[in-house]
Symmetry: D2
Subunit: 145 residues, 4 copies
């Protein structure tokens, strides 16, 4: 259900402290997102270019647990969560070469009409992709008490 | 009390959607953090290099409200918050050229001994910097009930 | 005649060797190019966006003389050179905080119609900008023998 | 003899013109260099960290032939050239998804003692790596003839 993405830490990803620059961890998560879309048949050039519909990021957050260094082969697990008809979250678990959690991230997207930038419903293809990688939804009963 | 940082959006900051790549907003906030440290007298080369004490980022989050484009002159307001003797938060408000809030971010740091990566108290110079840019602290009475 | 651009090296510009990542020196030169265009009245958002005419880069080269580190305040001198009716070069001298040459770069641009990507003559506004920052042209007599 | 590296263009690699930001092409070439070193057994974390010997870049240049876009799967062919006992060049041919040459680059490295930054001979392991990926050297007779 989760999409698995492998990435080798490049020299460019690092900073003078010798580890991956913090914001680059989010970029690597976004690479996993791109790879999962491509694997489902999306044309990335069009999707991230100038299509009629866009899904810009409304929120991003990340917790850092372990530093990552040049040459580290890391694994990113991506799961998705539909928030409502116009919004979804992507969740990322980043594992270091010793299989320890190095980072946990979440990136929220909102669907808009690219022309007027007003909200619009998620296209069917994205709904399908969300379905494939959707984490088991929390039970509404458990939430609602 | 807030530190003010001006930045012009570079072509490199943008992506194929024509706006600033999401993770670069956090990088611009970090630039404001660096500028505020330099303004207080910190030697950035040493601080971000291989000193005895380091303050890596433990958490980052950002909300996106307005897209930013190449050439936009933006203003970042930075305030700080001491969390405990070893940790602090930095808060950022990013304004677009029309003085609308384009993004709001928070970045948490934790102080460690660079050799063994164990937590240690914040050095006095950082405590002073935190004091200068500290937002009005929430009343402990209100918190403690 | 040269355009002068000041830049502070950010933590993000550096890599695990503790100095500026090589390709970022070219990015900083491009920032100087953007700043010089803005100073002459160009609307960067349109110029680097989706205008009718574009001036993509056909060639770039850079020599590295001195390493640059986080916090270094550097100065970039930009001069221009018209190659022919469709092409121009930009030349960059990058000075470190001790006023030593840290890098020398050259970036060539070619003017194209954005729709069919075929070469076209440089717009008047760019010709004017080239004139302002043009280095003293080598004597045609000397060249032609 | 050439080392082959595959890379998918990420959204982060692109700029507001919809194509890969020029300096990122050099970064992708450097990724190929890192991958070829790792494939030969180098420990990248040490090699690009704080070892006794470093091989910083003294020169880089790149010609751009075709634009690259998000999602493009490109191939980079890397060959090496020993210049003298302290210096080597790496050469890159970048092919777009239609197998057309999109860019040609060259990056020169110089071997230094990391402590005093003075030139020193290339370590044996690097000489071996240079030998594996060395392009057929141009005949000195043909050159001198």
């Amino acid at each position: 259900m989760a999409f698995t993405y492998c990435h080798t830490i490049h020299f460019k990803d690092t900073d003078a402290a010798g580890v991956v620059y913090f914001a680059n961890v989010l970029s690597i998560c976004h690479e996993a997102y791109e790879a999962s879309l491509a694997a489902t048949g999306f044309d990335l050039r069009q999707f991230f270019g100038k299509g009629d519909v866009a899904v810009p990021i409304s929120h991003a957050e990340v917790d850092f647990r372990k530093p990552l260094r040049c040459g580290d082969v890391i694994t990113v697990y991506l799961t998705t969560q539909t928030l409502d008809i116009e919004r979804f979250s992507t969740h990322y678990q980043v594992f270091d070469p010793k299989n320890r959690v190095a980072a946990i991230a979440r990136i929220d997207h909102i669907c808009i009409n690219a022309r007027d930038r007003r909200r619009c419903p998620l296209p069917q293809a994205l709904q399908d992709w969300l379905h494939i990688h959707g984490a088991a939804a929390p039970s509404p009963v458990a939430d609602g008490g």
